[in-house]
Symmetry: C2
Subunit: 239 residues, 2 copies
């Protein structure tokens, strides 16, 4: 489910399944322009108008903008996440049991900006398709290849052994700063749960450990900030 | 108001005004250890035990950890924010009408990690002392000098004209990438509202514009991610 004018407008045509708007939406200037855009983009989609109370009960946000869409989930493969067909080496973020929807959305959004090839997460991470995550990706969820895996450890081993990916963990064991390492080859970064970090089982699978410098008395950075610094350092090195 | 064992433990002694705990808190292992820590740290503070329903009504979080503190607001000056007495040049983040508590908290947290000297915000930004902001700073709010100003434009001019600070705005007008600029001198970064960015009035006061590279179809980065990239680039250059 995708809510709001801007968010629905960003859904690729082939993923749009149904669009609903609140009664009267089509008689506003903005509504009219939007419905024309949808009709032009996806002539096979019939926009259904529903009563205000029905529309409200369909929405997650308190102040919905009068339109929501049902969107097909995408089937990405590990090859997609590795960047198959793209002119860049693998640049992946691996999330273990990330819990905060805002962090998840922000990581996907930043991944697009930094040119990451994809995201892998375990199934105990926050629901990728929850409305708050979808909103905070600002449309990136439709463009950044992502994979939810049952066996995260097995997938990490496959990345390392079969695809030659260097998998880094930001970890207390790290003794090299992130901007002293070489991320120009196939690279993945592991980011753990907000409260507990990576489990030992997953952290031990890292090809190498790294650290992000921290001044003051801070013990850790926010998960999405750590991921963003690593992805943009990779972008910087590959320019 | 600061809630939770870890958060209260991070409050500097001189700012603690009162501490409340829920009935029975002192008879748990964790509670006992915590109360001893508070008594050792601030012997003048009397921890008051209150009934469960009273405690719940005092708390913002749904699952409070049984303890909360009333904390003095700090009076920082512009000199503090400029890093007076510290072995570094000014490294400031200026926030215009930032609305999301999570973004505000994350920026303050990252500011400590990146060694920024302080934060300046206008009074229409989200309440810095709201429970969600305080929680998401992870204690940094007690350590990072910050200033809420009525006249943001006037303060920016003062930074530039009186203190020789270069004030950068991430802006569409920017044609130089952030990692090509020199942030080793006194530096400030302006970050605007999540939906609308900087107002023209404030953006026009920038000493220079910069841009953060973005791949794909992304129009902008999350405000706290943009601030974090700029602060850590400054940290990297000053190492």
């Amino acid at each position: 489910m995708v809510e709001g004018i801007r968010a629905v407008a960003e859904v690729p045509r082939e993923l749009l399944t149904a669009v609903f708007c609140v009664e009267g939406f089509g008689s506003t200037e903005e509504g009219k322009a939007f419905l024309k855009e949808i009709t032009d983009k996806a002539p096979n989609i019939n926009v259904e108008e529903v009563a205000t109370n029905v529309f409200k009960s369909m929405c997650d946000t308190v102040t919905p903008q009068g339109v929501l869409a049902v969107v097909k989930m995408q089937d990405f493969t590990l090859e997609d996440v590795l960047g198959a067909g793209k002119d860049t080496k693998a640049h992946i973020v691996i999330l273990e049991t990330l819990q905060d929807p805002g962090n998840m959305g922000t990581i996907i959004r930043t991944a697009e900006g930094a040119g990451a090839t994809g995201i892998i997460m375990n199934s105990t991470s926050v629901d990728l398709y929850s409305p708050k995550v979808v909103r905070s990706t600002m449309g990136s969820i439709f463009r950044v290849p992502h994979l939810i895996v049952q066996d995260l450890a097995g997938t990490i081993k496959e990345l390392e052994e079969k695809h030659g990916v260097s998998v880094y963990a930001a970890h207390l064991k790290g003794y090299r700063f992130y901007d002293e390492l070489d991320f120009t080859g196939p690279t993945a970064f592991m980011i753990g749960n907000e409260g507990n970090g990576l489990t030992d089982e997953i952290a031990e699978l890292a090809t190498s450990y790294l650290k992000i410098p921290m001044e003051g008395q801070l013990e850790s950075l926010n998960a999405s900030v750590a991921a963003s610094l690593l992805m943009y350092e990779t972008h910087r090195q590959r320019k």
